[in-house]
Amino acid sequence: MNVILISVILLAVVGGVSALILYFVAQKFHVLEDARIDVVQEILPAANCGGCGYPGCRGFAEACVKADTLEGLYCPVGGSEVMSKVGSILGREAAQTVPMVAVVRCQGDCDKRPQTNEYDGPTNCSIATSLYGGDTDCSYGCLGHGDCVVVCGFDAIKMNPETRLPEVDEDKCTGCNACVKACPKVIIELRKKGPRSRRIYVGCVSKDKGAQTKNACAVGCIGCSKCFKVCEFDAITITNNLAYIDPNKCKLCRKCPEVCPTNAIVELNCPPRKKKEEDVISND
């Protein structure tokens, strides 16, 4: 009985003293934080992707609360919706931004861009890039080792084992820019999602001369400038044998993909064109 009593008292005393110490320490070292940081953080997607340029969602929330305006602060994952909520909490105007999505500017799958050697190093695009131009004749194209897949925090980019090219799931893609930063070949670009997700872009980043590109890949941009000539909106520029379509000027008139001799220009989510006669025949 005595033993039990002593134990209970001792434990109670130890517990009580510890509680007191904890209480005073908590008082002394208490950090006053703006309560709004927690509220803002609640709204944010909690992906901690770093797409906003701050270390995690907490960092972004702090930055939002501290800043005088929300200009330059944007959560690419949550988009305008989340930003306007943040704006309403803080009583500030949130900038309206267009939703962005990642596009992969290489279409050189195994058939169209034949393999010329076999890479036998670690499955890592950065390591392969520092070694050489890649296992095809095109030193600009996708290496297919999936650095972009690894960094994607939203499961939105997947390597297609058949084509050895990454594919973006545009419903999941939040435009956080992580894959763009990870790609050592700068193949991935963030583009405006576009009306009804329709986008037209050049699916190639090869700066090689036309003949060289053609030699290496069937769907490379050879810099022939046919698209440049057909474009009525000055949206297309050609530098270093490579065409680029400015998403801000492009009106999605769909003339350029038609004239491209190598089918290097990609139209996404556009309704099917009227089939030409020859196509109909070949499809039968």
Binding site: D120, G121, P122, S126, I127, Y132, G133, K209
Partner: protein, 441 residues
């Protein structure tokens, strides 16, 4: 016998082409001379399509402090200045020259007689070395005049000649020593004058006994020059390792090798310096070993810069059927190349062909923490740790663990029982960390 004091491995030497005399390779129809042949900034082309050049005509100018001049290795007409695949694995600007005849610049002394005297001052020697496009021929291709340049407050006490050739298979330096020992000695004298030192040690590994005997004998005639026999150990040819082996001083962490009072030059560079200073001949050719277990005739060739590697391979009996991998350089630090059409450059010490069964890496397994990589690392690093840090992309941590000290010798990957690509990830870490450091400045 001496060697460096930390780590190292001893891979099978496989010096198949040892003892082969240096044969001269003929001229192709066209040479391709890449503009980026030295460490640092590439040269700027100063010729245009249609220009006529002779052997030794300058075609590229140094474009910065760490950069060097480039000369035509053939006579003929410039066909174009265009992109061409080189040993870097990328297409880079190169000068294409159609070969017509073999006409040399008049100033070049093509006689073979030894010219001993050199009455140039140290500054004049440095200037001439720079003009004639000499770079370190051990493989790093660091512009020689920059390396020899006196630094304020740093005094060179000793010249170390790197004749170690620690890479397995390669024999180009060995062959050069056997045939051009006198010229090398004169080259050493010129280098000593240029950096104002009175003592030179030629470091040779003891798997080249004939070269040790010959060089020791020749060195007797020259004051202050001695030959040091070194125990075979890779990477003894690394600058820091060689200094440690020869004078027992370690280059302090983060300092330049001159901090130990030593300047290291490759033996082939010493020969190139001789030719430049005494014969007015720019760096337009070099000795290249063509070797491999399936090669019909492993040989050492004297090849002009810019000729396709295919020519050397043909001379050695053609590319074997069972070829799995072609390497420019040695097996430990050389670069795998994708085609033999790429040109020989200043840094090409050898072309090694590995047969199929040696070409593929073993399957990677879990790290079993056997610590063998730690014991072989010549820089005293922990490759297992740096490797996994690299895989996890923790670059801050990599910097703290001294990733920048790595010399990429590959001892860790070579020795790893689990077949882990340690040095690949360490190299990646170095690239990322140096970018971070640059961004900080």
């Amino acid at each position: 016998m001496r060697t460096f004091r930390i780590g190292g491995v001893h891979p099978p030497e496989n010096k198949l082409s040892a003892g082969q005399i240096i044969e001269e390779i003929g001229l192709p129809k066209q040479v391709i001379i890449p503009l980026a042949q030295n460490l640092g900034a590439p040269s700027t082309a100063i010729v245009n399509k249609g220009d006529e050049v002779k052997v030794g005509t300058i075609i590229g100018r140094s474009s910065g402090f760490v950069s060097s001049n480039l000369h035509s290795s053939v006579s003929g007409k410039v066909a174009k200045v265009d992109q061409s695949l080189d040993a870097s694995g990328y297409r880079r600007p190169s000068v294409f020259i159609d070969v017509i005849g073999d006409e040399w610049e008049e100033s070049i002394d093509r006689s073979t007689n030894l010219k001993n005297e050199c009455d140039l001052s140290a500054e004049e020697i440095l200037k001439k070395i720079g003009e004639f496009g000499i770079v370190g021929l051990g493989g790093a291709t660091f512009p020689t005049q920059v390396k020899l340049m006196p630094l304020p407050g740093k005094k060179a006490e000793i010249l170390i000649i790197n004749a170690v050739e620690c890479e397995p298979y390669l024999t180009s330096d060995h062959a050069l020593m056997m045939e051009k020992s006198d010229e090398i000695m004169v080259g050493i004298q010129i280098l000593m004058k240029a950096i104002n030192v009175t003592r030179t040690v030629i470091g040779i590994e003891n798997n080249k006994p004939d070269a040790i005997v010959l060089m020791t004998q020749k060195a007797l005639k020259y004051k202050g020059v001695e030959v040091m026999q070194l125990k075979v150990q890779y990477p003894q040819g690394g600058e820091k390792q060689l200094i440690d082996a020869v004078i027992r001083r370690q280059v302090p962490n983060g300092a330049l090798p001159i901090a130990t009072g030593a300047i290291v030059q490759n033996v082939a560079t010493a020969f190139a310096v001789y030719e430049a200073i005494q014969k007015n001949k720019p760096l337009i050719d070099r000795v290249v070993t063509v070797t491999g277990k399936s090669i019909v005739k492993p040989s050492n060739y004297k090849a002009r810069i810019g000729i396709p590697m295919q020519m050397l391979m043909d001379a050695a009996g053609g590319l074997p059927e069972d070829t799995g991998k072609i390497i420019s350089g040695g097996p430990m630090m050389g670069k795998a190349i994708v085609s033999l059409d790429i040109p020989v450059v200043k840094g090409t010490s050898g072309i090694l062909v590995l047969p199929d069964f040696e070409s593929q890496r073993a399957k990677m397994k879990n790290c079993i923490r056997c610590s063998k990589c730690v014991s072989v690392c010549p820089m005293g690093l922990e490759p297992y740790l740096l490797g996994s840090i690299g895989e996890m992309q923790l670059w801050d941590r990599a910097e703290k663990e001294d990733v920048m000290n790595c010399i990429e010798c590959g001892c860790c990957s070579y020795t790893c029982p689990s077949g882990r690509p340690l040095v690949d990830f360490i190299r990646l870490g170095k690239t990322k960390v140096s970018a971070i450091i640059r961004a900080r400045k």
